[in-house]
């Protein structure tokens, strides 16, 4: 370094650095935008309708609403169709067929006819032979609120129906300087509860989370804000009748003695159907914003309020409402719960699905002092139908059947396990 002092070298370096590295002196940024979208799979109406029949049984992926007809369980797989389960031996139920009904969320049964929604349409199916289910009638466009989601609406494409949504995990890389966050909404297609339920019919029984129910030769369905009436005097030929505006955020419907108990996120409505074609509001019980499946007996309505997700609110409880004056139902007692969903009553036994706390069984002989008899705490239960000493329970991981002949020692009879997705 003789003749070229180090300090001079450093000085030159200081001058040279910005020049030499000018292209490298930069704040580079790459943005990876990772999101999920669901791509619709379309089929023509003819293809869809041709496939509404007893197809090969499928594994249960998401247990939905349930309806029991004699020894047969009809279990809805939300948006996909209906599992037909031979329950002749409750200890060994057999999944025997699957009826493909895209967009199906609710079911109800009268005699040998099963009613199901197919997005905006109502389908009447002959189920006299569960192994050979046939379409009897399709009533089009009666559930206009049933949009597909993701901006897709049936009206956009009348000839095609979305049969499923394929999940796509996607990552897009872009320069950070190209703009800020692009809002991609993830698409859970239907935000409505995919919990279970069902409906009562002359020979069938459903749960407390149903949106379809049958009474007096009428099929009553609730949408987000309407109550629709279908005349099913001729079961195979449902005829759409009145539509009654009920309120907002309607969730469930439960029939009892000429009255329909309609659960909404803000209260319970009682509609009298003495004239079956013209439901008339008889009373209303308001509560805080929450989801509220409801059942009723001669004297009381049992309303479970829960918070979370679509339900919002912070209330988790069982409200017992006295019905001696239907025009003015009065709150009698409140029981705190964890996250109650569906419920069922058989005699003095009250069954409540309390979310992750499992299925709770109470002695409800005295509603002012419910006695917890037993808890099946190992399941995440969300609806139950209790009849003939068997509690058919829909949980996240499967369809359970419990023998409650001895309510203190409830015994698991069987479980149909949900298949991993």
């Amino acid at each position: 370094m003789k003749g070229f002092p180090a300090i001079q070298l450093l000085a030159y370096t200081l001058i040279a650095l910005p020049v030499l590295f000018s292209a490298c002196v930069k704040d580079n940024c790459k943005k990876e935008h990772t999101y999920v979208y669901y791509q619709p799979v379309f089929k023509t109406k003819n293809e869809v309708r041709a496939n509404i029949k007893s197809n090969a049984p499928r594994a249960i992926e998401t247990p939905g609403k349930i309806c029991i007809l004699g020894p047969t369980i009809f279990l809805n797989e939300p948006d996909r169709g209906i599992h037909i389960i031979d329950n002749t031996n409750p200890a060994r139920p057999r999944n025997i067929a699957f009826v493909d009904i895209p967009g199906n969320m609710d079911i109800a049964i009268k005699g040998n006819i099963l009613y199901a929604d197919l997005f905006t349409d109502l389908v009447a199916l002959d189920i006299s032979n569960p192994a050979d289910v046939k379409v009897k009638k399709i009533v089009e466009g009666v559930f206009p609120y049933r949009v597909y989601g993701n901006g897709f609406v049936q009206a956009n494409n009348q000839d095609h129906i979305i049969t499923e949504w394929v999940r796509r995990d996607t990552t897009v890389t872009e320069s950070c300087s190209e703009g800020d966050v692009i809002v991609f909404f993830d698409s859970n297609v239907f935000l409505a509860s995919s919990a279970s339920g069902g409906t009562a019919s002359p020979v069938g029984k459903g749960g407390s989370m149903a949106r379809f129910t049958i009474m007096n030769n009428r099929l009553y369905t609730v949408g987000t804000d309407d109550l629709d009436v279908f005349n099913i005097t001729n079961a195979a030929d449902p005829v759409h009748g009145n539509r009654v505006s009920v309120g907002w955020n309607i969730e469930t419907i439960y029939p009892f003695k000429n009255n329909l108990f309609i659960g909404s996120q803000t209260g319970m409505f009682i509609y009298n159907v003495t004239n079956p074609d013209v439901p008339v509001q008889a009373g209303q019980f308001s509560h805080v914003r929450s989801c509220d499946p409801v059942i009723a007996d001669d004297n009381y309505a049992y309303v479970t309020l829960r918070s979370g997700n679509v339900c919002q609110g912070f209330t988790n409880e069982l409200d017992i409402v006295k019905l001696n004056n239907l025009s003015n139902p009065a709150l009698q007692k409140v029981y705190p719960l964890t996250n109650p969903h569906g419920l069922s009553k058989d005699g003095d036994l009250l069954f409540i699905c309390d979310g992750k706390d499992g299925l709770k069984v109470y002695n409800a002989a005295n509603v002012m002092s419910l006695q917890l008899i037993s808890t099946i705490g190992t399941i995440d239960a969300y609806d139950v139908i209790a009849m003939d000493h068997i509690a058919l329970t829909v949980a996240k991981d499967g369809l359970y059947q419990y023998d409650y002949s001895d309510p203190v020692n409830i015994r698991l009879l069987s479980k149909l396990t949900v298949a991993p997705k």
């Binding site: 180090a6 580079n28 940024c29 990876e32 990772t34």
Partner: protein, 190 residues
């Protein structure tokens, strides 16, 4: 830890094999400086220590780098004197910058998680040493540096719905010029 120390010594030992009559010494360095780049200039602080052998120094160091995001770089510090008077040296400091002390961003609609992750860092350049007595020296250096960072933000645009999150991952590479002034203290290998 022993593996790291051996790895740090390896270049010194390997290169110094050619040096005859060399002796091992030790040295610590403290420096502060400024980082300039496309964004506003920010301060930098460093401290390192290691061994010297002939013309070589190998050590480990830790610093505080406030450019764009605050990071604590932990680095290897390799230096080589390039002239016989030992005034001029080249250095390279590869390491990993850990994030530290960054203020959370302003709330954004739907954002449910906000994570900063550190990454590779590098500083390489040339320095000038002004000896002060036998054991001390005043240091000036200039170099080019890289700093990698990852900023990950997760959004749930509908908190009450059962929806999948959306994640934005920002991968940064900052190319900067680092100007440092410092002080060294220690013994020098012959």
């Amino acid at each position: 830890m022993r593996i790291i120390i051996l790895a740090l010594l390896l270049p010194v030992v390997a290169i110094a094999q050619k040096e005859k009559n060399a002796a091992v010494g030790w040295r610590v360095n403290a420096a502060s400086g400024v980082i300039t780049g496309e964004s506003a200039a920010k301060p930098l602080y460093q401290f390192s220590g290691g061994i010297t052998y002939a013309r070589f120094f190998s050590g480990i160091g830790i610093g505080y780098d406030k450019y764009r995001f605050n990071t604590i770089p932990v680095f290897a510090d390799w230096r080589m004197d390039v002239d016989h008077s030992r005034q001029t040296y080249l250095y390279v400091q590869p390491g990993y910058g850990f994030t530290a002390g960054n203020n959370p961003e302003e709330p954004e609609y739907g954002r449910v998680a906000d994570r900063l992750k550190g990454g590779f860092s590098l500083d390489a350049g040339i320095g000038y040493r002004l000896a002060v007595g036998k054991r001390n020296g005043f240091l000036l250096s200039a170099g080019y540096g890289l700093k990698y960072m990852v900023h990950e933000k997760t959004y749930l645009y509908c908190a009450t719905c059962d929806t999948d999150p959306v994640t934005d991952t920002y991968r940064y590479r900052f190319g900067r010029i680092l100007l440092k002034a410092g002080w060294e203290f220690g013994s020098r290998g012959r």
